[in-house]
Symmetry: C2
């Protein structure tokens, strides 16, 4: 259990690290950000940071010496970096979770082993296997690289068998997974937090709308039945427990209708604070970022309560960040600029949250 | 009008500067803190700071060069410092406001000149004048130094005429003001924000309870009539306009009953974000800190709306900061540790805010 005044090291210097640091400060916790990017936007809000490569052992050792516990803002922390740091200071969530979530196939197999439903999927490591997988799963389907994909990168949609070979070539023959298209009613997510002692708190089920494979809008409450909401939270809790997870994770799910009732299929797990949980900064009595810091510090979690009758989070992608003047004038709206400098297309540059007070 | 990415300089490195910086970050505004105290808690949350005396012209010049606009977290900025900086960069609120609020007598005379009611008062610059003032105002009364007093420092209560000379000696014969004791129903405050263009937004009237001359608890809604609330906001707005104020100010008032109706008497003006506005971080759709940064940046103010049916802010004074474990477990409660290190008696070390969601 960290004392007030302790220092949490964060691997990664993007907006998630930035918002983690901003949430840590009121708790009296210091943050030390480690990132290889000179222009890391998280550097701006902390007293201490290290700008060095993830392979730089000297820098990593110095970083480990300077902090009390280490966490990360992204799931693609190199395994060797995590192992090196683990020998020096606690790394939370446990790096074994990274191994489970960095590879889509390993992740899906793991979820399935817990008896949790996912979209149909099959491993693909050759063009021949792709055709066999299509045979098994049917079309349309999505071919995805097993590792390093996000926000629609490393994906190819296959509508007809004749498109299969082109898709395989487009992903350059790296190990892939074919996922069956799910006819879903809506996309939702659950942001769950777990402490080392086993306390779990889930935020309210969030409804998400994507645009061009990037999260566009998150809304709470989600338009789902209370039974579905309970099921979604149960699933997230089960995964967090199975992982022995410490911190905040996001579980993306599809809501499907089977025999008249809504059910969830798990789509993806993010072993970190998650974009669909950004609404909690302004729309809940505790934010996902604070929950993560509490868990990593070994502190109790707060019971999250929504503020307002409705909360909506809208991502500002690319040039959309240039229109802050518009958002500053909207009622009940909080602006979050990530401080990433010049916008580039498809890049998450900020978000806004609107809260409708009342019940 | 500042652009996103601009830098706001803050004079003073205490908790108010810290919370201003934490509010600036999501707006995409950088902060540069200037403070002579090596252990300034605001240094922890900013990328850039200057640790130097307020008389250090070289350091001040470098600070002015590094920022786009300058503001302050405390009213006792030396006049010469403010004048020096004003020649280099805009200082907001205008330093003339400092001159009006650093001296209790000048402040009271100014408020009275606006036709706004205050407690009865008189200038005291000798023991003889003190006796004349007691004659005029009556007892009990409070003798206060005209400058540099806060949180009950520089004050002496006078219950009987025989205590007058001791009170005068206790304050060491510096220029004073004698203030009549007000039989008030409650103490309230209005946090008002004003832009250079004249937009004014007041937060809801806040009810305050002091303990040992230090703010203990702030609660919204205050137990006052809507007519009184309107009067209180009108008074705060009038003062902000008269000052040509830019930024957030706190106006402390007594609620008194005259001929059956509630009225306000202005007690004190703080030309800065104010302790009784801390509840707005967690309990409103915009915080006083964000409003101040918006005003100083030349951006529009947000219309503040309360979140929840009740909000309560409790200051953590001295050793009370050691019991964070207690507060982390309270429902709907946000902890704010200022990071000031070892607690000392009567020092504001943090606060907590509890929000009761609903309407």
């Amino acid at each position: 259990m960290l004392k007030v005044g302790a220092t949490i090291g964060i691997l990664g210097g993007g907006q998630l690290a930035r918002m983690l640091a901003l949430a840590a400060a009121p708790l009296g916790l210091r943050c030390h950000v480690y990132s290889p990017e000179k222009e890391s936007c998280a550097f701006e809000v902390v007293h201490a940071y290290t700008c060095a490569a993830y392979e730089d052992k000297d820098a990593l050792a110095g970083f480990a010496d300077a902090v009390d516990v280490i966490t990360y803002e992204f799931e693609n922390v190199p395994a060797e970096t995590a192992a090196f740091l683990s020998k020096r200071k606690p790394v939370l969530p446990d790096p074994k979770v990274l191994a489970l979530t960095q590879d889509r196939l390993v992740e899906k197999d793991y979820i399935a082993s817990l008896g949790i439903a996912t979209a149909p999927y099959a491993a693909v490591s050759s063009a021949a296997e792709l055709h066999a997988a299509i045979e098994k799963i049917g079309l349309p389907a999505v071919l995805k690289t097993r590792t390093l994909g996000y926000d629609g990168k490393g994906q190819a949609k296959i509508m007809k068998v004749s498109e299969a070979n082109a898709a395989w070539r487009a992903l350059r023959g790296v190990p892939c997974i074919l996922e069956g298209f799910v006819k879903f009613e809506r996309e939702v997510s659950v942001i769950a937090a777990r402490t080392a002692g086993g306390q779990v708190e889930c935020f309210e089920v969030t409804e998400n709308v994507h645009r061009d494979h990037i999260l566009h809008i998150s809304t709470v409450p989600a338009k789902v039945s209370s039974a579905l909401a309970a099921e979604a939270k149960r699933v997230a809790t089960k995964i967090a427990k199975a992982f022995g997870y410490v911190g905040v994770m996001g579980v993306e799910m599809f809501v499907v209708r089977r025999k008249g009732a809504q059910h969830v299929l798990v789509n993806e797990i993010a072993p970190r604070v998650h974009n669909s949980g950004h609404w909690t900064i302004d729309g809940a009595t505790v934010s996902q970022f604070e929950q993560h810091m509490r868990a990593v510090a070994g502190w109790p979690l707060a019971k999250p309560l929504r503020l307002g009758k409705k909360v909506e989070m809208i991502n500002l992608i690319g040039d959309e960040i240039l229109d802050t003047a518009h958002w500053l004038k909207q009622p009940g709206t909080s602006l979050h600029v990530y401080g990433k400098g010049k916008p580039s297309p498809r890049r998450k540059m900020g978000h806004v949250t609107r809260v409708w007070p009342g019940k």
